[in-house]
């Protein structure tokens, strides 16, 4: 029977393509990283460790994720709870909220530069309403903490939308009957939220966290626009090593570091954020 194989034939090209473009670079990255002049060696690993930005790149990448992602989750939860209500102009609000989905990290970085530069919107606004008399400096090596803040603000602005959309989708799938049943038994708003909505949202929260965390490990464009290498991050250092230093080995170490972090963090989420509700019912 020919049609038994048809679905496989239809899927095969896509799978082969993906395996090639993901499998080949992964193997190649390991080869590039752990060989030197054709021999197996830790030379690249040692020279990566010796660059002064290696440890800071890890630290800043993780620190940015640690500040940004929990805040985003909190904001997205509140926004989704509000967007499940009905109110006037809801469609327009939803449209506005998802606009950042289509804005790239580079454009986001440039836009926030507009707002935060010395003669930018925020400083002018605050000076003109009399809250400050001198502009707040956000940019420059000596203001690295402010650059960090600028990146956090930009990422909250740009990439909360994806978390919001995933959580909202999850919230819309929760059957109204559970909530109504809880209401019948006298559960107040907070009890319903804690005992029903949040537990049932766990799968959505998990996938939103995984997606955001993986993207956060690759953070590049916004950092490059707002802080350059003042705030070193893994992807930025990999890019720098490759395009400015032409050191493929060290660049591959950075690439593998991103892959390793992604795998470890993804596995941790899967392990610690199990959705007990769904598993019991199965």
């Amino acid at each position: 029977m020919k049609s038994k194989y048809l679905p496989y034939l239809l899927i095969l090209p896509a799978i082969v393509y993906l395996l090639f473009f993901i499998g080949y670079p992964l193997v190649q990255a390991i080869i590039l990283a752990f060989t030197h002049n054709g021999h197996l060696s830790l030379y690249n690993f040692r020279s990566a460790l010796a660059t002064p930005t290696f440890i800071p790149a890890f630290k800043y990448t993780l620190a940015l994720a640690a500040v940004i992602i929990p805040t985003q989750l909190f904001l997205a939860l509140i926004l989704s709870l509000i967007m499940t209500r009905t109110f006037k102009g809801k469609d327009m609000v939803l449209y506005a909220l998802i606009i950042p989905l289509t804005i790239s990290d580079v454009a986001g970085g440039l836009i926030w530069y507009t707002l935060l530069s010395d003669a930018g919107f925020l400083n002018k606004l605050l000076i003109n309403i009399g809250l400050i008399s001198q502009p707040i400096h956000f940019f420059g090596y000596q203001y690295r903490n402010m650059e960090f803040l600028a990146i956090v603000l930009e990422e909250l602005w740009r990439s909360t939308a994806i978390v919001f959309v995933i959580i909202l989708a999850g919230m819309q799938m929760i059957s109204k009957e559970y909530i109504e049943a809880a209401e019948v038994f006298g559960a107040g708003y907070w009890t319903r939220l804690r005992k029903i909505i949040i537990p049932m949202l766990k799968p959505s929260i998990q996938s939103a966290l995984i997606i955001r965390t993986l993207f956060a490990m690759q953070i590049f464009g916004a950092v490059w626009m707002l802080a350059g290498r003042d705030i070193p991050v893994l992807a930025g250092e990999g890019y720098y090593q490759l395009t400015f230093i032409r050191n493929y080995g060290v660049a591959s170490i950075y690439a593998l570091a991103i892959a390793a972090l992604s795998i470890v963090l993804g596995a941790l989420y899967v392990k610690f954020l199990k959705a007990p509700y769904l598993e019991v019912s199965r």
């Binding site: 899927i11 393509y17 670079p25 990255a29 970085g109 003669a119 989708a169 490759l242």
Partner: protein, 277 residues
Amino acid sequence: MNDRTKHMLRNLLLYVFIFTVVLWVVVPIVVSALYAFSSRLDYYNMHKVIPTHYTLKWVKTILFVLGAWQGIKNSIVVALLTILISFVLGVPAGYAIAKYLFPGKDSIKLSIIALRMFPIPVMAIPLVVLYIKIHLYDTLIGVALAHTAMALPFVVLITSSIFAGVSKELEEAGMVFGLTRFQSFLKITLPLALPGLAAAAMFTFVMSWNEVFVASILTLKHRTLPAQILSIMAGSSGGAAPPYYKFAAAFIMIMPALVFIFFARKYLVTMWGITIK
């Protein structure tokens, strides 16, 4: 009475909160668009929060002197190639997942979801070595091939959900009236799925349009728009571009995406699994 005031107060708070959130999203876009056309004097005038004198100079310089126009053309070519390749590979796979039951389907679907998460930088850096060897380095098709690897899992998943939405009965009715399976796909399923596929194509376009890391690494002279912007506008330590050029660059970059989201907003939302009720 007391309850009613409470209720009204809560509603008011809700609207204030929603209004603030919308402002938080929209104001940066509007401000940067205005500043992109602000005259130099207005920009540096600390008492002009909103500029009043406008000029096209910055946008024009970015476009025609600093190579963004060429970047736009390259970006469009790359995005169209990405759509073409990822649809040729992805639509059949999406169709198979939506319309057939076969052993291993769930694990194939799961692995495609997992592949979607593969970090792009890991892919790009070793690809340079390969591309130099096979003369794909600094070519638009090379970038498009890499972008396809990024977009393909999305295309498969999105098209499968679109095809799943087209009822099987219609296709079977076509086959009853003498069409082959392929013919009934072409004449019945495809036209019905077309709006959704168009939205998926636009989504792919935006993904490719916005992608900067791979494009920057795989090209040198034939840069896409984000890669070109990145190389002329690097952060405070690298680039010396005056601020108003940065706003002009941002404006040029986000325009197509804003147009896209306006036309595709209905699909964009369903694409992520939300339905507006």
